[in-house]
């Protein structure tokens, strides 16, 4: 406890250096400016802004990224509330009530409760990360390759098979990602795999190219083909921007409950902020004194999901920093950003580079404050960004998307790959195949393979290591339960519902 406090204080000394504060502020502002664009979610924002950090020191770059991440989330909520176009699945719950509030001329309080709720949830969740991370590190230091492999299989299962509309489509996306992860030189033996003699492919498929291809190019192709001829309707901000006394009274319990729901979902590698946001929405609907307002713009229905989203996203930093396991597309891109600097997150990172880890955690607190004081007063400017006509908006998005892919290696091959991933993204969007499992599979697949082969090397090829170690056996058992239980529940329900 004392050691944690000491480390955190040291982290603040780093995060509060004027240059790092500046990077944080730039990150929050850019993140909001890009994240507010319709159709641009946090994952794409982080991927597109990655090239901006090439010349920064690792600490400065990661602090800027934390800012971009938070800014993108806030920008996304603004778009969701005003345009009713959720940029990611975690914002769908917000759109339910948020857009209704905007339609009734209460956009101001909706945006305010979302911003302040995000701040409250983000700060509490960061506090929990601070307390929890060192404990997880203690445990993780005892992990061997078998335990890591079990944990990664658990993460694969939750992000692809358990969440989402269809298990088989989630798994298909995951396996496409795993296949893409195999491209390049095998790290253990130096054997090239699936490179077809193309030198550019020997380095493997870059996560940024995949993410930008799926999210930006795929989205542009999809929106162009299916909704570019539909006029957009934006709700104007009318009336007061501020929350009334009753808004406050109805918001804060929702913020706190949502934090309690969101954080655990993010911090166990259970992937995605979608479930906690809908859970929070359901809880608020049930507990509200004004259930009749739900569906017509109830403020709790915005306050809860927004806070749950933020708490879950912050909680996802626990497995990312302490175990090196990303549980969302955005976290996968953050992991790629770490790897660009030759940093592999995990328990050793806390011991080898405490400055970096604690500087980053401290900057999360700072980023949250910055978000609140920079963004609320600037809401008018962000709303202006929303009025950019769609043709120019998507033109601009693609200029930045191609820049992000091209500047990695200055290679046309990356641009061609980008287009192929764009076609893939279009098909996945059109036929409802989730994209996050592919992104996570690409970055986590090679790590899982390495741990798997390491575990078998240690055991001289004996596969019983995976079920003889208690921790890995438990994790595998959990994974099996996750697959079997929902299936059984569905069967039982169907049997009961069937006419006798």
């Amino acid at each position: 406890m004392g050691a944690t406090l000491h480390a955190l204080m040291h982290g603040f000394e780093i995060a509060l250096l004027p240059m790092n504060l500046l990077w944080g502020a730039i990150g929050v502002t850019l993140g909001t400016a890009v994240g507010v664009l319709p159709g641009v979610g946090p994952a794409l924002t982080v991927a597109m802004l990655l090239p901006l950090t090439v010349k920064l020191s690792p600490v400065g770059a990661l602090i800027m990224f934390a800012g971009i991440y938070y800014g993108a989330m806030f920008g996304g909520s603004t778009t969701t509330i005003l345009l009713n176009t959720p940029g990611e699945s975690a914002s769908i719950a917000t759109a339910l009530e948020g857009n209704k509030m905007a339609k009734r001329g209460r956009a101001g309080p909706a945006l305010a409760t979302s911003a302040i709720g995000s701040f409250v949830a983000g700060t509490i969740a960061t506090l929990l990360v601070t307390l929890l991370a060192p404990l997880v590190v203690e445990v993780a230091l005892k992990f061997g390759p078998a335990e890591y492999f079990a944990l990664m299989v658990f993460a694969f299962t939750t992000v692809s098979a358990v969440l989402g509309a269809s298990t088989v489509r989630g798994l298909t996306s995951l396996f496409v990602g795993l296949l893409l992860g195999l491209v390049g030189i095998d790290s253990q033996t130096g054997q090239p795999r699936f490179a077809f003699g193309v030198p550019e492919l020997l380095d493997g498929v870059d996560v940024v190219v995949l993410a930008v291809g799926l999210f930006a190019v795929g989205e542009a192709l999809y929106v162009g083909a299916y909704s570019s001829r539909i006029p957009e309707v934006m709700d104007k901000i009318t009336g007061s921007l501020w929350m009334s006394k009753s808004d406050w009274k109805r918001s804060w319990p929702a913020w706190l409950r949502a934090t309690a729901i969101g954080f655990p979902f993010g911090s166990i590698p259970a992937g995605g902020a979608e479930i906690p946001t809908f859970l929070s929405y359901a809880v608020e609907k049930k507990l509200s004194k004004y259930p009749e307002e739900f569906g017509h713009g109830a403020i709790e229905g915005v306050a809860g999901p927004e806070a749950a989203n933020n708490a879950s996203v912050t909680g996802a930093l626990v497995p990312l920093l302490t175990l090196g396991i990303p549980t969302s597309a955005t976290a996968a891109i953050l992991l790629a950003a770490f790897q660009n600097y030759g940093i592999q997150p995990g328990p050793m990172l806390f011991q080898m580079q405490p400055d970096l880890v604690w500087g980053l955690i401290a900057s999360l607190y700072v980023g949250n404050v910055m978000l609140l004081i920079l963004n609320l007063p600037m809401i008018g400017i962000w709303v202006k960004v929303l009025t950019i006509p769609q043709p120019l908006l998507y033109g601009g998005i693609l200029v930045f998307a191609t820049l992000g892919a091209y500047s990695l290696h200055q290679s046309v091959v990356d641009l061609a790959t980008l287009y192929v991933f764009g076609l893939l993204g279009f098909a996945m969007r059109r036929w409802d195949i989730p994209v996050a499992p592919a992104v996570i599979g690409l970055i986590l697949g090679p790590l899982a393979e390495t741990q798997f082969r390491r575990a078998l090397s240690i055991s001289q090829g004996d596969p019983s290591v995976f079920y003889q170690h208690p921790i890995s056996a438990t994790l595998f058992a959990f994974t099996a339960l996750l697959i079997v239980v929902p299936w059984v529940v569905r069967r039982v329900k169907r049997a009961r519902a069937a006419p006798r």
């Binding site: 798994l171 298909t172 396996f175 496409v176 083909a225 043709p391 033109g395 641009l415 409802d432 697949g445």
Partner: protein
Amino acid sequence: MSRAAAPRRSPAEAALSIGVLLLGVATAVGTAMLPSEGGYARIGPNFMPGVTGAGLILLGVWLLYEVLSGGWRNMPPQDAEARGEHAFHPLAFAWVSVGLFAHMALIQSGGFVLAGAMLFACVARGFGSPRFARDLAIGFTIALAVFAFFVLVLTVNLPAGWLAPLFRLAGIE
């Protein structure tokens, strides 16, 4: 549940399912050409590819089974209007693609700024903007600003291409 029960035909779902199946077969064929010796671990660089290929084949079969038994489960409505969208607009799709290909063709020779301007104008055209020349000018301005920012502030080089002499005159290099 009710949506899944309604029988319907979707050639696209069938094609995608077969695509996944074929991808799995191709992966398996590629795996067969990889060496298998693995030292102490007794599994080599061909193990994960084998698992991935087998997985894709299984998933392809599963998807195909769903197609044959009433279509993929829990799908959004087939009808574009029910999704709040319009029917597939081939010109929009084509213009976005043309923009990206023009960008690929131009970036090494013509340079980042010209390629970016062309991409911007084509995409805007695809989204229904009637003013190609104006869009070209806007795209040029944006790409020029990005170019200058990368070269002057970040000191990251982007291809200058045909406009290199002009940039040199303007001091952007």
